[in-house]
Symmetry: C2
Subunit: 320 residues, 2 copies
């Protein structure tokens, strides 16, 4: 039977059995955001919950891909199966097409223990903030123990997506000031671990002091966990094992304190609320169109009906 004719449930089972092409295909189905997407999403949801996500974000050019690639190499030495979601909100392309300068990721293209997927904004109702957790759950459901989520850029969306991981790594460079100035507060809020990458350049200690000072000044609660600041050189792999140890330590701390459970429950509640809002928005777009909408609009312009009554009239036909 050709893969294209497999039903979603069969495809999902194949993906769970380790079929990478089937996994790629169910992820594409998910991105369509239609009823088939809902079906595979449901299947993934039931089986997910044991994987652990690490968000990696930072300004363009900070060397995130090189660092991620070095991290993958380190993790693979311990024979752990991982998945990488590379997310670029500014790109209209999806499904691997945007890897572009992520060329170093291809070091792992032939390693069956590494699954890499690119995502962009295309298609999904509610955008990346709703499609990302779904893709993560799918990768989790098919058995990837660790899922790295790399976002490009430090805008609001990127920071939000990276901040939805279990552990969030913010990548800076020596002399970081300029590149992240615009969203410093957002980055400070989500960071569980700071990395100063390209640490073979000048200015590492100044940047470390800057970050430490900001941690002092911030009113965030760092009693249970104070974000460490780790110097790395992505190209040589220097500092990467320290980073991996810090990630594992953070995981152990939030698992034992109950913080991990709280984070995940909070994220799920937020996601549910966002889905309800998106569904209603979708409905509003469906409502404010067509012949009935034109007629009511004309009635408002002619003053035979007032705007509030017209809105109520439009909404009368709305059901879930």
């Amino acid at each position: 039977m050709s893969r294209r004719n497999q039903n979603p449930s069969e495809l999902f089972d194949a993906a769970c059995a380790g079929d990478r092409a089937a996994l790629a295909r169910v992820l594409s189905l998910l991105e369509r955001g239609d009823t088939v997407a809902r079906e595979v999403g449901r299947l993934a949801y039931q089986r997910s919950g044991s994987g652990y996500t690490v968000g990696i974000t930072g300004a363009p050019g900070a060397g995130k891909s090189t660092l991620t690639s070095a991290l993958i190499r380190h993790i693979r030495q311990q024979d752990i199966e991982i998945a990488v979601l590379a997310i670029d909100p500014s790109s209209p392309f999806t499904g691997g097409a945007i890897l572009g300068d992520r060329v170093r990721m291809q070091d792992h293209a032939t390693d069956p223990g590494v699954f890499i997927r690119s995502m962009a904004t295309r298609g999904h109702l509610g955008g990346l903030s709703l499609s990302t957790p779904e893709a993560i759950r799918m990768l989790d459901a098919v058995g990837r123990q660790w899922i790295l989520v790399e976002t490009v850029g430090v805008g609001q969306v990127e920071v939000e997506i990276a901040g939805k991981a279990d552990t969030t790594v913010v990548v800076l460079n020596p002399g970081w000031g300029d590149s992240v100035q615009a969203n410093k507060a957002g980055l400070m809020e989500i960071a569980d671990i700071f990395v100063i990458n390209k640490a073979d350049r000048k200015g590492v200690e100044e940047t470390r002091r800057d970050v430490e000072q900001m941690l002092e000044l911030s009113d965030l609660d760092h009693d249970a966990w104070r974000p460490p600041i780790i110097a790395t050189v992505g190209n040589t792999g220097e500092g990467v094992s320290t980073l991996w140890d810090a990630i594992a330590e953070h995981r152990a701390v939030i698992e034992s304190s109950g913080e991990l459970l709280r984070r995940r429950q909070f994220r799920l509640r937020e996601e549910l609320r966002e889905i309800v809002a998106r569904r209603l928005e979708q409905r509003a777009r469906e409502i404010c169109t067509g012949e009935r909408w034109d007629t009511l609009q004309q009635g408002v312009l002619d003053r035979t009906i007032d705007p509030w009554s017209a809105a109520d009239e439009m909404l009368r036909g709305v059901e879930a």
Copy 2:
């Protein structure tokens, strides 16, 4: 019969007959945003459409109130009945309580041809962007030929509200640069007339050149109407009759070109769309609460139901 016991329709009739206390009361009813508000809103809508609105906006301290007061004096000399809506989005108070530094407005407190009303953000579903057009329509419906809408500040909301008038006056001062820098583009877009108030100070010609240069550079279409730049001194009334003439001229131009009708129809369509969106938001808030919501949330946390199915489940009960 005490006024408090009058039904909305009787109150509206009294307001139309010139009863100022009744007018104040129907405006308060409107601000409640409930079913009674809808009833008086409906009555006002049917009767409105002949009044003309002038928006007046500018940075705090530009002397808008003094200028507005001088403009009122000038208009009243022609025995035209007017109403003034003073809008302050940053204030939680409403119904006259915020007049504060609008003390000069009280020059007109004993003139039955002038009706002044303050509005703030309190209460109304959808905020000032929905309550302002309703209040304007009420003042229009009870027979005020001109309605001045004065907004405090040059933020996004203030500019939006002022820009919903038929003619919009942007008030600057000599050396205006700093105070309006933040929203220069927004102000340029809505201005039908520029006023350089406090023109007895230095820098009037420089400011005039600045504005003219910006008009040159902007890609807005000024073929049909190029915003004039008028120097005024609110304290002495200097330039105010020129301003009034410019307002009348702008009105004549957009009335005869059909632009006024287009503006009003566009505004009504936008308002209708916004009401539909607000109604749905309100519904989302109502939905995401209560026992059913708690149960479904728990189901999501327990993985007995996925988030999308839970959202659909919540929405199933929703009707308009």
